[in-house]
């Protein structure tokens, strides 16, 4: 191992929890390695300085001049790759996102490093890593061993224990990309939340049991009280009660929060595929036969319009 590049992201001014796990892993990597390893952290959002779990020889690089469209063009990825080449990274780490995917696949191809996606856990041995990958939407796991020269991409449920509790402040340098050239944008329709749902610690989801989009007030209230993100089932986004960016499931966003509260969602297998990374699942549904109860840690058979306001009142 020579140099590490890691993609991290920021959630409300703080290091996201998925990125904290990546930095904990870097602590582990620095500990088992006899020679010092340089670490460059890359971030795509504006940040001057940030507190992170302590690692040594660390720099923070903020990638600037991103296109308003939120899409990286080929020539911009070229610029990032040429930086990677000059730094001589041989281990790349990152969370799952379209941005990171597009850089990691290029890096894997051009630096000739194998890319391991969907990692849920890692054990570090002196010359290789033992990796578990999530497959079949979390229904099974694959095991493989790989040398340290590689590109690792983590599933939202990946965790790695911190080796020491101390934090350090790092200040960012800017890495400016060229203007994007390979496409021309005619319209951008911005969605406010979306991006944070996959990394939220707490999520409140709701489904057709809510009966009408005007009833989402209490869901939002509950989410606000818990500091949670809001999610919805596929039927609800299909009939436009909620934006597509909130759709959690097989064909939507996959979440892995500490707590997921599902309100008026029956628990179709397609929905479960998107939420089975959750630590604790609470299900509220008036149908005692709802399949979701079989996959719940805690369940209550009750009317959402009665139970949710009661929870909100008592939190």
């Amino acid at each position: 191992m020579k140099n590490i590049a890691a993609f991290i992201d920021i959630n409300a001014g703080k290091l996201s929890s998925r990125s904290a796990s990546i930095i904990h892993l870097i602590q582990g990597l620095q500990q088992i390695n006899e020679t010092p390893i340089k670490v460059d952290l890359y971030v795509f959002s504006p940040i001057d300085q940030i507190e992170i779990p302590t690692v040594s020889s660390v720099s923070l690089l903020e990638i600037v001049n991103l296109d308003d469209s939120g899409i990286l063009s080929r020539n911009q990825i070229d610029a990032i790759l040429s930086k990677f080449n000059s730094e001589g990274y041989d281990l790349l780490l990152g969370y799952k996102s379209t941005f990171v995917d597009s850089i990691m696949t290029r890096a894997s191809t051009e630096l000739k490093l194998p890319l391991i996606p969907q990692i849920v856990s890692i054990d570090l041995a002196p010359t290789e890593m033992m990796i578990k990958q999530s497959i079949f939407s979390g229904k099974a796991l694959s095991n493989l061993k790989i040398g340290y020269a590689s590109v690792l991409q983590f599933n939202p449920s990946f965790e790695y224990k911190s080796l020491h509790d101390s934090l350090i402040k790092v200040e960012s340098e800017k890495l400016a990309l060229p203007n994007s050239t390979s496409f021309s944008v005619s319209a951008i329709n911005k969605v406010p939340q979306g991006a944070n749902l996959a990394d939220a610690n707490y999520v409140v989801g709701a489904g057709r049991g809510l009966k009408d989009p005007s009833n989402w007030g209490m869901i939002e209230e509950l989410a606000t009280k818990l500091g949670a993100a809001t999610a919805c089932s596929k039927p609800v986004s299909d009939i436009n009660w909620r934006p597509h960016s909130e759709h959690v499931g097989q064909t939507g966003i996959k979440i892995a929060p500490k707590l997921y509260i599902a309100c008026g969602i029956s628990g179709a297998i397609q929905h479960l595929a998107g939420v089975n990374g959750s630590k604790t699942i609470v299900v509220i549904n008036n149908d005692p036969e709802a399949p979701f109860f079989k996959y719940a840690d805690y369940g209550i058979v009750g009317d959402v319009f009665d139970v949710i306001p009661e929870i909100v009142k008592n939190l």
Partner: protein
């Protein structure tokens, strides 16, 4: 010159399948119902709509990496309206291997547009389209929700990005990962099924070795607590929620 579209499909177990292991400790697909990946169904459906608008100038080729057990779903793609198919006779082991097979084939046989799903629903990596674009040096977008081809030279695309949805145009050649609502899924007609019998599925030997050597798989039998509360005990559940949020 007709425009050539390559649609890459995966053969995956139906979402509701229960996953079990075979005696060699890998996921056992024998006996499971295989389907075309749902996202690839969207990609193919859109390709067929594009062809229907200009049948003589568009050619659709299906590309699949997988064993003989996939032939039935390839035949269904032909029944839906694809012109021909190529099957690489090996197991799909990892994203890079599959992308290299695609890139190799595309370098030998020129194509203008490569469509696939935004991800396969078995290994969920969503990397094959990215890798393919990277190997070919083509532009790439995913997940694409809307696609129009203009003058067989430019694509007008609606794509989800990190900020929301973006309407853009980019010149061919392109690699696109597709998702709903790019097209409505199609059902093969009797005429399509009959016509498919005469269409060819070309067998191709693998050109690439597997990239990743897996040791084994395991079934993830995550146990949930399954504790139920009555309405009158709602307070106990509220206390648990409070504790979970403080932890």
């Amino acid at each position: 010159m007709p425009m050539k579209i390559l649609v890459c499909i995966s053969a995956v177990p139906d979402t509701t399948s229960k996953i079990s292991l075979s005696s060699n400790n890998f996921v056992n697909l024998d006996g499971l119902t295989l389907i075309t990946g749902p996202y690839e169904d969207y990609a193919l459906s859109r390709a067929i709509e594009i062809k229907e608008a200009d049948p003589n100038n568009i050619e659709i080729v299906i590309f699949h990496v997988g064993p003989e057990s996939s032939e039935a779903i390839i035949r269904k793609c032909l029944a839906l309206g694809a012109d021909s198919a190529v099957r690489v006779n090996t197991k799909a082991n990892d994203s890079f291997q599959v992308a290299q097979e695609i890139a190799c084939f595309v370098k030998e046989n020129s194509f203008d547009l490569i469509l696939m799903g935004k991800e396969s629903i078995d290994y969920n990596t969503g990397l094959v389209h990215q890798y393919t674009a990277s190997l070919l040096g083509w532009n790439h977008f995913s997940p694409v929700m809307n696609l129009d081809v203009i003058n067989n030279s430019t694509c007008s695309i609606k794509v989800e990005s990190s900020v929301g949805t973006v309407q853009l145009s980019s010149d061919l050649p392109l690699v696109l990962g597709c998702q709903e609502p790019i097209a409505e899924w199609k059902i093969p007609s009797m005429r399509g099924i009959m016509a498919a019998r005469a269409k060819s599925i070309v067998l191709r030997e693998p050109q690439i070795d597997f990239g990743l050597a897996y040791i084994n798989d395991e079934v993830n039998d995550q146990k949930r607590k399954g504790q139920m509360f009555q309405r009158e005990n709602l307070n106990e559940l509220i206390e648990i929620i409070k504790k979970e949020v403080r932890a």
